[in-house]
Structures are given as C-alpha cells and as structure tokens.
Amino acid sequence: MLKTLIEAFALISTWEVIIAMFAASVYGLVIGSLPGLSATMATALLVPVTFYLSPIAAIATIVAASSMAIFSGDIPGALLRIPGTPASAAYADEAYAMTRKGQAELALGAGVWFSAVGGIAGVLSLMILAPPLAEIALSFSTFEYFWLALLGLMCATLVARSSPVKAIAGMFLGLLVSCIGIENPGGVPRFTFGLTDLFGGIEPIPALVGVFAVAQVMRAMLTPEPPPLPRRKFGSIMAGQWRLTKLYHWQMTRGNIVGIIIGVLPGAGADMAAWVSYAMSKRFSKEPEKFGTGHVEGLVEAGASNNASIASGWVPSLLFGIPGDTIAAIAIGVLYMKGLNPGPTLFTEKASSMYAIYLMFIIANILMIPLGIAMIRVAAYILLAPRSTIMPIIMLCCAVGSFAIGNNMFGVVTVAAFGVIGYVMEANGYPVAAMVLGIVMGTMVEQAFVTSLIKSDGSILPFFERPVAAILAAMAIGALLWPVMVWVWRKVKPVQTAAATSR
C-alpha cells in the first residue's frame, strides 16, 4: 500500500503533470464561469489535447478541469443570476439574492469552500467504495454486466428532468448509434450504407463534442446576449466560512452524501445532485421561509453536493466502464485511449495509477481554493468578453479537435451531425445525456447481451439464476416500472384527497 502510494506520488510529480493540471484548472475555471459553456463541454473540448499527453497527465487535465468548472459556474450565478454551468442552476437565484443583500463574498466564498470540501469527500468515497466493489465485480459474469449496464441506462432515464418515455427513446437512439460499424458479434458491416467512413463506427468523443459544444453554439445563435457584469470590489472571501462549516456541518455532510450517491448512479451528475440537495436542504431546514431570500444554508448543501458527485461519478466508470455522469463518459473514452481500460482488474494491476487519480483529485480540490479566490477577483474582467468572441473560438476548437481524434475529416462531419441531433433533441424535451450514455455503453451492452444469449442457448432463465444477477435484474426492472407506478399514484391520489374533503 505504502509502496503503491509512493509510486503514485512519483507518477504525478513530473513537470508534465503539474503544468497540465495547472493549465487545465485555469481553463476549467474560465470555461465554467462563462454562461452557456458547461463543465461537460469544457471536458469534451479538452480530449483532443489529451491525446498528446502521457496517461496520467491526460487524466489530470480532465480531473482538474471538471472540478474547477463545476465550482466556477457559481460565479456568474451569484453575480448575474445566470448559472455558468447547469450544475449551478439550482441555487443561482439564492446566490444572487445574497449578492443583492451585499453578501456576494459570503455566497462565493461558500461556493469555493464547500465545493472543495465536497470534492474531497467525493474522492474519499471513491477510495473507500471502489476497491471492495472491485473484489465483488471480479466474480461478475456477462449476465451481471448486462443487468448492471441496463440498470445504469435505466437510472439515466429516471433522473432526467423530462418525460421518462422520451428519455428511454433517447437512450435507444444512443444504442442505435453504437450499432453502426463492423464491431459487432458477427463482424459484418452494420448500418454503414456502404460508406467506408462508417465502418469504424461513430466515435463517442466527436459525438459528445457535437452534442454539448456545437449544439450550444447553435442555441447561442437564437438567444440574446447575457448582460455584462457590474464591477464591484470584493472584501475577504474566505471570512466566515469556518463559522458556516461549524453551523451547517450536518447540512454539509448530508450534501456530500447525497452528491456521492447521485454521482455513483449512472447518468445522474452534478446538476442533478445540486437540485436534489437544494430541495432537501429546504425541506429539512429549520427556517425554510428564509430560502429564496438570500439564505446561505441551501448554498452550503448544494455546493457540497455537486462537487462530491464529480469524484464519485468515477466509481462506476473505473470499475465497470459505466459512466456515472457525462463527464465520466468522456473520461472513459480517454481511459481506453490511454490503455487504462476500465474494469475491476484496474485496481490490482494498475494500483499506482489509481492512487495517482485519487491524489490528483485531492490536489485539484485543494488547488481550487486559491485559484477559485483569484478567479472570483478577476471574473468581472473575464465576463466582459462578449459571446461573439468566445463562440467562434469554440467552433474552431470543435473543428480542429474532432479532426485531431482520427486525423480525418469524417470526425468533423460527425461533430456537425451530432450538433444538429443534440440541438433538435434538447429543443423537443429529449434528454441528450441519455443518448450519450447509450452511445458510450452501447458496444458493452450488446456484447454482454449477445454473449449471455449464446451462453444460455436462447433461454431467458439463466439471466435470473445467479443471485447477484437476480438482484440487479430486479432493480433494473423496478427502475423501468417506477414511472408507471408514479403515474398510477398520481391518478389515485387526487381521488383520495377529493374523497377526504367531501367527507
């Protein structure tokens, strides 16, 4: 253990890793603070750069950029009432109300401090949860993997803030995209329409860049420019945070735990964690009437929650290759490219790399405090940059980055196509995150499904025979039926209340 820890330290204490991490942190802070550019988009645009880095440095950039971007989304949320990333949307109103009360420092300080604490709690969960889960996962057969993947996909559709039917449709679309190419059980060209470019299938990374970055530029074309940030002088940002920590330690812990759980669930990421935690904070607060008027309690809990989900989202990604959220979905692509194929054996064979990942998460979250404070102070200048200078650069990065993935122009076509698909889906209430998970997990789902079918000789029964498989199956089917039950409940409940009032 100590030896691996020393090895891990050696892995991360190279100039390449240190510079990569610092640069990615600054990049993450800037992108996250710009309204309309999400943490997922920041990570997706980073992928082409990671090709040219060593494996550890590549992961370092993703870890640093995603953690920083989630925090820095709080900045325009508090100052402009426009969340920088969707993960900050839950409490942007509250933070803005605090700014209007003259407590901008307290709101932003709480953002930095509780984000860092939440991030570290997330890493601890990753360190504690992953190894024992890996032990269990070693005995998994294709049946378990099939149900696990299905459960992941179902969770992604459950937590979407949209119609579950549309979410499931989105998931199927993603799976359908993953069918394209010759990488299938028979090795025959499938849905390639005679195009050689499609033989290799649709790469997940250009698809993600298209869905998250190009679609965002498309939306920007139709929405008005956000107002500029008023200049202001900030007092001490960290003052009073320790008092808040003591006062709201229970809320903070609850936020951390909820964030960790939501992060581990496939498909549900930081934005979901923030919404749930904010709602929970209000529900259990002693003074719920203060919420919405500039009360810091909800900020503490939700801020601690969304950053905790970032690290814990890596648990299913590293163990099973099932992404905990969209950022982890991108990370999985990078892991594969760097020869760190996700799976339970990763924790025994590449233990030092795993420790290096934990360490990088911890360092990124500590680094967040000084860099975050600096960012808050210069945010006014960065937010002066008009959208019409940022979006063109994003476009160029999309084009060059997607070209760089395979050094061919088909990547750029893929990005353009998925930009349109993502835009149309979003506009019509189809959650894109479900489709992204489908694309990323498609090959794995199919392999597990077909191999299981071959092993069982076409019978359904072996899918439920092994105990773990049976439990996972029950959970997956439960997740599928959940919306139906909610629907029935909603139909029954008004009748009951009506009967009660008439009595």
């Binding site: 803030r161 028979g186 060059v400 353009a416 196509a417 835009y423």
Partner: protein
C-alpha cells in the same frame, strides 16, 4: 425548432422500424442462433414502441417546463427579433463545420478558419471592428496550439503558416 410530439414520435417509429428491419436482414453467423442481428432488432422495436407512446402523449405529464429565471427591472433584455428565417440561424454552426470539411484541404486551415470565425462572430452580433481582428488572429493562435504544439497535421493550402 420545437416540433409537436406527434411529429418526433412518428419519426422515432419510422426510425425504429427501419432499424429493426435493417437488423433483421443482416446475415446470421453460421451455426449460431444469435448474431449481429439481435441487438438492432431489440433496439429498433424498443425505439418504435417509445415513438408510439410519445405520439399518444404517454409520459407527457412528467415533463417539467423549463424554469426561466424572470427578468428584473434594469435587466430586461431586448426581445429576440422574430422572422421567418431567424430560426434557420441555428443551422449556421453545423453548416460552417461542413464548409470546413469541404474547403480546408483546398484553402488551407488559416483561410478557412478565418472565414468561420468571421461569420460566427458577425452572426452573434459583433461589429466588423471586433470580428475582423478576431478572424485574423485566432486561426494563428489555434494553429500554434494544435498544429505546432500538438502536431495535428492541419492542411496548409494556399497560405502556409510562417512556422
């Protein structure tokens, strides 16, 4: 681009059915009951079923209206100009990417990128005083990062970079 559910749902039904049929006609692996045809068949049927459900409005009650943060006084933004062609502006980014695919090899990276930047920037409301320098400088910066540092083989075309 907000389409009625019946349109998107019907599209999914057609797409699902086509996928299921496409899977059906794939050649099976000799001597094996399940091959590359099973998965598309399952996915296609599922997609078609979802499409049907959407057409009939099942699950619609779960959809949450997008929470728009109400504007405050002094923050009121100008209403976006509405015209028939206004909605088509959204198609500009993908169109520019396709333009990049078509033109980059012939014109070279710098020129193509400059055109892309200028058009995007102007479309988002920048004056030429801002858009022109941006279009002149940013391709070089991107080329420096990707072409020089990361060694992505960007096409030189008509205007090779000085390095």
């Amino acid at each position: 681009m907000r389409l009625p559910d019946s349109v998107t749902g019907s599209f999914l039904v057609v797409l699902g059915a086509a996928a299921a049929y496409g899977g059906w006609i794939l050649p099976p692996v000799p001597g094996q009951p399940v091959g590359p045809n099973v998965f598309p068949l399952v996915i296609g049927s599922g997609l078609a079923l979802c499409g049907l459900a959407i057409v009939f409005g099942i699950g619609h009650s779960f959809e949450e209206e997008e929470e728009l943060i109400p504007l405050e006084d002094g923050q009121a933004a100008a209403p976006p100009p509405q015209g028939k062609l206004y909605g088509l502006r959204a198609l500009l980014p993908p169109a520019l990417l396709l333009f990049y695919v078509a033109a980059a090899d012939r014109l070279g990276f710098i020129i193509t990128a400059a055109i892309m930047v200028y058009v995007t920037s102007t479309a988002l409301g920048a004056k030429w005083k801002l858009a022109l320098p941006l279009a002149a400088l940013s391709p070089f910066a991107i080329h420096l990062i990707f072409g020089k540092l990361l060694r992505v083989p960007l096409p030189a075309g008509l205007l090779p970079t000085p390095w």
